[in-house]
């Protein structure tokens, strides 16, 4: 009986998990021995957030093969529903960790539901049209959150789309979501450890999904939709599955994000298309469909501006140039050809021939 691919993919996956766990251990050592600047420490939770966002987007872009430019929208849904829950339950559930886990579940499920509702009409659009509609939805979500006012008092919840006064709260009530000012005072429950655990959970879900019957169906749809139909695969079901799971994980990243800040606002910078595009850059640079690559790209590209801080004004410029150069280097057929020709292995073989 031939050795089947299971062992190769298993090996690959173990390496991926290993890298994450190793990185965690190294960071913890550096932090406890005082070798990490507070600047870097402040980046640890955001790094986890971006890794989860990149891996989850790769599920849609690399595994399902659909371009989504609205990933930040799902992050937004998760961030706000999670933070809303935490603030509401601040005095009710006093065990922080329990409340945070519930917030994560709520954020993930809300994002999944929104992903499902958006996916249903949208996933039948082709390529670029799908891309622009996902971008549109991402912007719509951000805009709606900005005009949302929700308050709580002894009578329950009050919702308004106009302003906080029209909520009509009792004197003992408090405004939780305050329109453009968002949510203030979210309990700071996010830690690096929890972030890494969430990364590992994300990896388990995504990697196990890929190497399963459902994963094969999703990739079949990516590779040849008409052929997938002809072997009886339910296209709508699997597109929705991939899209919803991807959205859900983005929502979880959002909860992690919102519980790391004192004030949570939906700005163009954190929940707009700029964020969606940034995550897409991580995914493409790390390799479309390459889960481990997404992790590495997310970390490197997030750290790069910080490492370049010494060059202050020029750092974002250099970031942009590095991005362009890396893209050309990795994707231009001519340059790829040149690289192969001058690869060490080739040169070694040539010298052997000469002798």
């Amino acid at each position: 009986m031939k050795k089947i691919r299971l062992s190769k993919s298993l090996k690959d996956n173990i390496i991926t998990y290993g890298i994450v766990i190793l990185a965690y251990i190294i960071v913890q050592i550096m932090v406890s021995s005082g070798n990490m600047s507070s600047l870097m420490q402040g980046l640890l939770v955001p790094l986890c957030v971006y890794v989860i966002l990149a891996v989850s987007l790769n599920l849609t872009v690399g595994i399902l093969g659909e371009l989504s430019l609205g990933h930040a929208g799902f992050m937004c849904v998760g961030a706000f529903t999670g933070a809303f829950f935490s603030k509401c339950m601040e005095d009710v559930i006093t065990i922080g960790l329990l409340r945070f886990i519930l917030a994560i579940l709520i954020g993930g499920i809300s994002a999944a539901v929104i992903g499902f509702l958006i996916g249903m009409p949208v996933l039948r659009l082709k390529g670029d049209y799908l891309a622009i509609v996902t971008l549109a939805f991402g912007e719509i979500i951000k805009n709606i959150v900005n005009v949302l006012y929700i308050g709580k008092d002894s009578n329950g919840l009050h919702i308004s789309m106009k302003d906080s006064l029209s909520l009509g709260l009792e004197p003992d009530g408090k405004v939780i979501i305050n329109g453009a000012q968002g949510i203030t005072g979210t309990p700071k429950d996010s830690t690096f450890t929890i972030g890494v655990i969430l990364i590992i959970i994300t990896l388990i879900i995504v990697l196990n999904l890929i190497h399963s019957r459902d994963g094969r169906a999703i990739m079949a749809i990516r590779d040849n939709l008409i052929a997938a139909e002809s072997i009886g695969i339910n296209i709508t079901k699997y597109k929705l599955m991939a899209f919803s799971i991807s959205a859900s994980l983005a929502g979880i990243a959002g909860v992690l994000y919102s519980h790391n800040l004192n004030s949570l606002m939906a700005t163009p910078k954190n929940f707009g298309y700029n964020m969606s595009i940034m995550i897409l850059v991580f995914v493409v640079l790390g390799g479309i469909g390459n889960i481990r690559g997404s992790i590495i790209a997310a970390v490197v590209l997030t750290l790069l501006p910080e490492l370049l801080r010494g060059l202050s004004n020029y750092r974002m410029l250099i970031y942009a140039i590095v991005l362009i150069v890396m893209m050309l280097f990795n994707w231009s057929p001519k340059l790829v050809e040149l690289r192969k020709r001058f690869s060490p292995r080739r040169l070694l073989n040539k010298t052997r021939e000469v002798q």
Partner: protein
């Protein structure tokens, strides 16, 4: 013998063009049936109508007595028709083995949760799928290449893989669209043997489109000749191939 595939009065128009008109055919269980005709005659369109890619504007299609007219491709596959395509449609980024396992999708199942949490159901079913898929690959002598990416196979083997994948869906009727295209005479003879093997050992009925007359006359028992979307001749192979109308329209002097 009862008819496995019963088609009456099948027709479709594209814009003003009548692509297929008044198409009838009756294919018995276990037959090797050929659909031939000049390029553009509508042969692939007939396949597309039979597999639900197009919805016919007229006509009835019955598979094993069940009316499948107008059903979607997925349902038609579940009812028992599988096909290969004129331009090979493999899952390029999947391995040879995974291409076949994808074909097993509706016959070996476990839930998404079982897959993600790696419950025992996952391991049991995947093992059974691996065994079944390797069985199929062995029939087509592709078992050695099981772990190769499908796009790395040579052309002839890609065609065979497409057939293997179609067979994995456990169809009653197999539609092959120009399976011998791009093959040299040796490969074609090998393909002929493979097709006969499939029919004999998989209890299969096969309808194929072909231009290679050696293959057609070698394995097809009955033929339908299509010209400009309409049936030109129909019947036993040697009779049809000697029909003067067919010779003029298609085979040449």
């Amino acid at each position: 013998m009862a008819a496995l595939l019963e088609v009456k009065n099948l027709g479709i128009s594209f814009g003003g063009l009548r692509a297929v008109d008044d198409f009838d055919v009756s294919i018995k269980k276990g037959q090797l049936y050929g659909l031939i005709g000049p390029n553009g005659a509508g042969k692939t369109t007939v396949f597309n109508l039979l597999t639900g890619v197009y919805k016919p504007s007229e006509g009835i299609i019955k598979l094993d007595g069940v009316n499948i007219t107008g059903l979607k491709t997925i349902e038609i596959n579940k009812a028992g028709i599988a096909r290969t395509f004129q331009n090979i449609r493999l899952f390029k980024e999947l391995t040879v083995l995974d291409n076949v396992k994808a074909g097993l999708h509706n016959h070996y199942k476990y839930s998404t949760v079982e897959g993600i949490l790696r419950l025992p159901g996952y391991f049991k079913t995947e093992k059974a799928m691996n065994e079944r898929a390797m069985e199929l690959l062995k029939v087509f002598e592709l078992d050695e290449e099981a772990n190769l990416l499908a796009s790395n196979l040579p052309y002839g083997k890609q065609r065979k893989l497409e057939i293997a994948r179609a067979l994995a869906t456990e169809p009653k009727l197999l539609l092959l669209d120009e399976p011998a295209a791009g093959m040299n005479p040796n490969e074609t003879i090998e393909l002929m043997n493979t097709i006969r093997f499939v029919r004999d050992n998989f209890d299969m009925t096969i309808l194929l489109i072909e231009h290679d007359m050696k293959l057609v006359s070698g394995i097809c028992e009955e033929l339908t000749v299509l010209n400009f979307g309409r049936i030109l001749a129909q019947g036993e192979t040697s009779a049809v191939l000697n029909d003067p109308q067919v010779i003029t329209a298609y085979l040449g002097e």
